[in-house]
């Protein structure tokens, strides 16, 4: 990994959850960009090309699944790893997440350790 600061895009329509994720990632030294809905997340991903996107599944305008699918379809963004945040973890939710190209998922509620280790694992994989 180079000396450049690692940028993470975080999108969640719940301000408190968003702030919680941001705080934890910033504590671990990541630079964080935030979005409050799917459309904004997609726009910011295209503009900033972050090193990782952490996306809530249930968001207004575009769901996390849809944002992921769009990212995978465009050359500039197709390699950005995606972690989905989801409250419902039914088997089909997980399958759907992977089928649109997500790299991992985190179930709500999640501990700081879980977020940290999943983010590190996904970034390390690249």
């Amino acid at each position: 990994m180079d000396s450049r600061v690692t940028t993470v895009l975080v999108a969640d329509d719940d301000d408190d959850v968003l702030a919680l994720v941001v705080r934890r990632l910033e504590r671990d030294g990541y630079e964080v960009i935030t979005a409050r809905d799917g459309a904004e997340a997609l726009r910011l991903a295209r503009e900033n090309l972050p090193d990782l996107a952490v996306l809530d599944v249930m968001m207004p305008h575009l769901t996390g699944y849809e944002v992921t699918r769009h990212l995978r379809q465009e050359t500039a963004t197709e390699r950005i790893p995606v972690i989905l945040l989801t409250a419902r973890v039914q088997e089909e939710d997980v399958k759907r997440g992977f089928s649109v190209g997500a790299d991992d998922y985190i179930k709500k509620p999640f501990s700081p350790q879980e977020l940290r280790s999943r983010v590190q694992a996904v970034l390390g994989r690249r």
């Binding site: 408190d16 509620p109 700081p112």
Partner: protein, 573 residues
């Protein structure tokens, strides 16, 4: 019944004037014969030849007796008899032969008996004998006809009762299919069971949505082929309904069962054409309405030329009512199911999101990210944390049950699981609650090997059994957890000496939201999901859960899970 009487009386009535046809060419005896036989009770028609006999018989309704005078020159006995037999009306008419001598007559009789010659009179003709024989034969003819009519009626009745029996069998098979086929389209099940039960060749389920009639499924008797019809069925779908033919349309608009020979329907209609081409000659369409809204039409087609009788149609009408009843119940179930799913989706998302914040921020506080707290503050935060986690588990349980019920399956992340570690963790987790009531937890763990399972779900099960044992124990009591091996199973036993469960309530304990009277009386917290979840998880692992409980002296819950080693040794003989 009325019709039978009428037909019989018509024939008996006309017997008062016996119709006799004399075939005699032009001979000296001809006029004499006519004179002898003619009487107020007999109507005599005379014809000269076989050819003429054919024409006369065609116009004559059911002649009672045909007399053939073989003495007449140029008379062709064979031709005459064939003419008599060829005519539908005189098919069963007895034929009396007039011959020159007895021996020749017997020869003729032997040769012509196959064609219906039944008696012979030899010259010289005794007028009385002739008249007696004609009267006897006329009587015989009438009796034969009556018998034929009765046989026909009997056959019809047989056929009808057979059809009706089949309709009842079909009705039964429909009911069985409905009771059995929890899933699947009710109407499709019915279309198929009816066609199969009645022995008809084709059963089609037409659905009605947005005033369009489209084919949702069609069933053909396995040995029956109707490619064009099948193509028309498969092409029809919502948005592209196709044409179900006149009969289905007719039933859809009349709202009552409709049936007709295919030949009476519009031959230019491609659907009717295809059915006729496939040899289907009768159709029946049963409209199915739920709360006076037409939801579908079941169409049955068959090759038999016999029309379905009224009783069959009535029975099928009853089937239609039954189906409507089921469809209504199913629709209500579906709506309830949908509401429930939406509700749980809402619960899972809307409750888990704030819980994420509560638990997350609490965790940050407890980690000391915002500075140290004094002992009281830390204790308070601990209470909040414990209760938030309890709330989370509750929501998690509800979601679990909803998922298991909605999809019918429990999804497991399978891996090798060391149950001794699961037990140790569960004991650890139950310790705080146990200590608060001075309850001692004793664990006796034997090495048993691993099971194939979902470590989180199995942990949930043991956690639940242990926390239950603690909740239902007296203060200062004792709870024992045993892990041992038994017949290739890993067995976890959780034993308490607490309140127990009344015998009468034990059977219902695995049902959702079922709580024992003890739990309610003592206000022990819980919503009665734990045991039903435990059972679902145990069974999803191929295991089982059993309970032994005596009121006021304690309960033992036994969880058995197949060991991994056994599964492998059984897999390879």
């Amino acid at each position: 019944m009325d019709e039978t009487t009428r037909v019989l009386s018509t024939r008996t009535g006309s017997a008062s004037q016996v119709r006799v046809v004399i075939v005699g060419g032009v001979s000296a005896t001809f006029c004499q014969l006519t004179a002898v036989l003619a009487s107020p009770s007999r109507r005599v028609a005379t014809v000269a030849s076989g050819q003429e006999a054919r024409d006369t018989l065609a116009g004559e309704a059911d002649p009672a007796v045909v007399v053939v005078d073989l003495r007449a020159p140029g008379m062709d006995a064979l031709e005459v008899l064939q003419a008599v037999r060829a005519d539908e009306g005189s098919r069963m008419t007895p034929v009396l032969l007039l011959v020159d001598d007895v021996h020749g007559g017997e020869k003729w009789l032997t040769e012509l008996s196959d064609l219906g010659a039944v008696d012979v009179v030899a010259a010289p003709v005794d007028d009385e004998v002739l008249c007696a024989k004609v009267a006897l034969l006329a009587d015989l003819a009438d009796k034969t006809r009556q018998l034929a009519v009765l046989t026909d009626r009997l056959h019809d009745a047989d056929e009808r009762s057979e059809q009706h029996r089949k309709a009842l069998v079909a009705q039964q098979s429909v009911m069985l299919a409905l009771a059995d086929g929890g899933s699947g389209d009710v109407l499709s099940i019915v279309a198929q069971s009816l066609a199969r039960g009645l022995g008809w060749q084709v059963g089609v389920c037409w659905r009605v949505t947005d005033e369009q009639i489209w084919c949702s499924e069609s069933w053909l008797e396995p040995s029956f082929s109707a490619p064009t019809l099948e193509r028309l069925h498969s092409e029809s779908r919502p948005g592209n309904p196709g044409n179900p033919g006149g009969l289905v349309q007719r039933a859809a608009s009349s709202g009552v069962p409709e049936w007709a020979p295919m030949s009476e329907l519009d031959h230019d209609d491609p659907y009717v054409r295809a059915a006729l081409d496939a040899g289907l000659s009768h159709g029946l369409a049963l409209p199915i309405a739920v709360d006076s809204t037409l939801v579908g039409v079941i169409e049955l087609l068959r090759t038999s030329r016999r029309p379905p009788d009224l009783q069959t149609v009535t029975t099928l009408g009853a089937v239609a009512a039954l189906v409507a009843h089921f469809a209504r119940a199913r629709r209500t179930e579906d709506e309830t199911e949908m509401l429930k799913n939406e509700f749980f989706a809402l619960v899972s998302h809307e409750m888990l999101t704030p819980l994420t914040s509560i638990l997350g921020y609490l965790e940050d506080l407890l980690e000391g990210a915002s500075g140290e707290f004094n002992a009281d503050q830390e204790q308070d935060l601990g209470v909040i944390d414990r209760n938030a986690r309890r709330l989370f588990r509750l929501v998690d349980d509800l979601v679990f049950v909803a998922q298991a019920e909605g999809g019918g399956t429990v999804s497991l992340n399978l891996a090798s699981v060391d149950l001794s570690a699961v037990v140790a963790e569960a004991v650890d987790a139950a310790q705080t609650a146990a200590e608060a009531h001075d309850i001692g937890i004793v664990a006796r763990v034997e090495p048993v090997g691993t099971v194939r399972g979902d470590v989180r779900r199995l942990g949930q099960v043991v956690d639940h059994l242990l926390s239950n044992a603690v909740k239902f124990s007296h203060d200062g009591g004792r709870v024992e957890v045993v892990l041992r091996r038994q017949d290739g199973d890993a067995v976890i036993e959780v034993v308490d000496e607490g309140f127990g469960i009344p015998l009468a309530e034990q059977a219902a304990m695995y049902e959702r939201f079922s709580r024992s009277s003890i739990a309610s009386d003592r206000e022990i917290p819980g919503i009665g999901l734990g045991l039903s979840i435990t059972k679902m998880i145990a069974e999803a692992h191929g295991g089982s859960i059993a309970m032994r409980s005596v009121e006021a002296s304690g309960s033992t819950f036994t969880l058995a899970l197949p060991l991994e080693a056994r599964a492998i040794s059984e897999g390879s003989p």
